[in-house]
Symmetry: C3
Subunit: 307 residues, 3 copies
């Protein structure tokens, strides 16, 4: 492997990491990697290796050079590797996480094919990561070498009672939303992630703050659990959604910021329902609310070009 | 707003109400609105406002004038508004219902995009209403301002026992099926709804009666719960299905009535399974059996043109 | 009906039976029918009648002669008829099985339409059989004339404990995998099924053995339940997957056997998760793991042509 190949791999890998928040920027990717590594060195290593694996599979498999270079085969692998290493327990979890990262890359290609051929012009987003992670977490109930983290407990909906009490900490809420995109609830990492986003463009950073604020207010106003709100669990989907709807795929929209804020607010009830839907299986919602709300608004925009 | 705009809005709105039963006819829409208002004035107001909201969002969003004028952005909003105001409780439910009606219109456009671009030539039907309503009802378990009606109770399938006993009342069964399309079980409203359908065309009315009869006999013959059968809960999907399969989208079919009756009968077991599938979540089946059976027959007809 | 029609019907029907394992060969179909009939005469009759019904509906409905002759409207009917007659109990189950076989043919056409029009060039596989069978099994909780087999019991995931102990019988494992494709766990039938596959091509037979071995080792290595492993319940999806990925739809692949083995191994964790997902409903996984893994690899291959 010569120097050029190494450089190419490094840049594509870092772009893969930044694509998790819909950004194609190697420096942002590097700052994100630093934010993750500061929170946990082993998580940082998993992130880097997952991005490398995803990118290499795209390259070796023969995907178009452009898409591989943009990091489009990296971000689902990054998220899958991180999620599996966090939501599984036991010694095998790092190996499973890296195999999962490899499969995520193949699954991303599969979804891209379905989306491309149907001419929907709708991006795959993080759908492959979400579905693959759910599947591999459910496997724990049948194969002993997959051990689920004790935090994920299936529960019958008929036994569920909602208790929203808990401290309100708006400062935590302000930085934890962006952290949760990468499964982090460390304030310093949250600040670093904002720097990564601002580096890629001031508008991205401002919109991320607006989206997070919209979700905080909506979830607080509608009466969500304070504990979850201020850990950022209602915010991360809103941040991704406003960036997707109001900036990255804004196209013909007349008032993209307004539509983006509405879409960000909508992620709050949708998060509530995805979490409820998954309760009997004890699975985390991941970024499904972001994917659903973004797909609805992007597809609707093809028919209603002004929204 | 001038007089022409008002007239346009009124006609499109009423057509939106009639599109719930696949009819584009403002007078029928008006009779349906009357049937609903007689059963409950507040429900009538929700219906009208939801149809107006859906239609206006289609217009403002820039959807094609033709589709907006046909009421195609109204019917999912009507159903979503009605369902949310009925299946939620508490004071906020009317506000939530109208916001839901607005989202339903956007979601309808999104689905229309996926269907159009995939060139499937398959209509969206009431899929957006169903999925959106399910999502917003599940939200009640996580956000206190969404309060679910006490009638909707999640239940574990392992604790379920089937008891089909109950009175048989064929007269109730004859009119309640069409009523349930609009969540009504009032006989007089049922008769008015039949008048609305016959107004749009005698064939529509006759087929609705045939579809309902097919479902009554099938569900009784296969041993469904009498209570549900005669409340019309096995009939409303059959009525919509026969109208869709045998009249509205009949195309190349050689024996459309026969295929329509078969499809109507099939909605009975499919209703049974959708209800079972939703039992752990306590959600209503809504018109999902109609959507599934109609999609299968309409799509199959593209490959098997004679059915 | 003249002699030519009868011969056509016989050949298309037998091809329909062989299409269950992605083979178009009337002799193989005949051997498979024999393997089933040896295990159970009534099951053999259901198999034959279901294949006839599916094929005739394709013909009468006006599907393209080529697809009907290849048996493409038979295999989903065969599997649906067999599954319903095995997983239901009571006297009506044979009638329900044959009606189910008829609907399966229509559903296959519907899915083929969606796949064709979206230009995905991805085959329908056994998806219609799986979904239809699940739906009709769930119906048993609502209609008394549908009686579910006592083996299928819904169970809450929170009460589930995994116990992998049990005898290891590698010989049983070697032949039961292929048997389970047709719901058989009879060694002699398993051997006959291998003969049917080898008759259609030695490569098909060898790959089936390789795929089964890969699944046995993977499921044993990852710690699956021995009882299920050696009954072939982790093997049958792997066999179908390796045949689909490495032979039937191999196209541009550079190392089809390697990719096929990876896909076959992947069916093991996916089987674990599909089974877990269905646990609250007491439904069997059927060939869903095969369909999911094959779709992912075939669709990914359109974007990554070398895999």
């Amino acid at each position: 492997m010569n120097r050029d190949s190494l450089k190419w791999l490094l840049v594509s890998t870092l772009k893969g990491i930044s694509q998790v928040i819909l950004i194609e920027n190697a420096i942002s990717g590097f700052i994100i990697l630093a934010a993750i590594t500061i929170a946990s060195v082993s998580l940082g290593v998993v992130t880097l290796l997952s991005a490398v694996i995803g990118t290499l599979i795209g390259k070796i498999g023969g995907a178009s050079a452009e898409s591989v270079n943009q990091g489009l085969y990296g971000y689902n692998s990054v998220l899958t590797g991180m999620a599996l290493s966090l939501f599984l327990s036991g010694d095998d979890r790092f190996l499973i996480a890296l195999v999962g990262a490899a499969i995520a890359s193949v699954f991303t290609a599969a979804m891209a094919h379905f989306m491309r051929k149907s001419q929907s012009e709708i991006p795959v987003l993080t759908f492959p990561f979400i579905v693959l992670t759910w599947f591999l977490l459910l496997t724990t109930y049948r194969l002993v070498s997959f051990k689920i983290s004790p935090n994920l407990t299936p529960q019958s909906l008929s036994n569920w009672t909602l208790n929203i009490k808990g401290e309100t900490d708006w400062l935590d809420g302000a930085v934890n939303g962006i952290g949760q995109i990468f499964f982090l609830d460390n304030n310093f990492s949250g600040v670093l992630l904002f720097i990564a986003v601002f580096w890629a463009g001031w508008r991205l950073g401002v919109y991320a703050i607006v989206g997070n604020a919209a979700a905080l207010l909506t979830s607080y106003g509608l009466g969500g659990e304070h504990h979850l709100i201020f850990m950022g669990l209602y915010g991360y989907n809103a941040i991704l959604t406003i960036i997707a709807v109001a900036i990255v795929f804004k196209e013909t929209a007349r008032y993209p910021l307004l539509t983006g804020i509405i879409a960000a607010c909508l992620t709050v009830p949708i998060t509530g329902s995805v979490v409820t839907w998954l309760l009997p299986y004890g699975l985390p919602a991941l970024t499904m609310p972001f994917v659903l709300c973004t797909w609805v608004f992007l597809a609707a925009r093809k028919i209603m070009p002004r929204i």
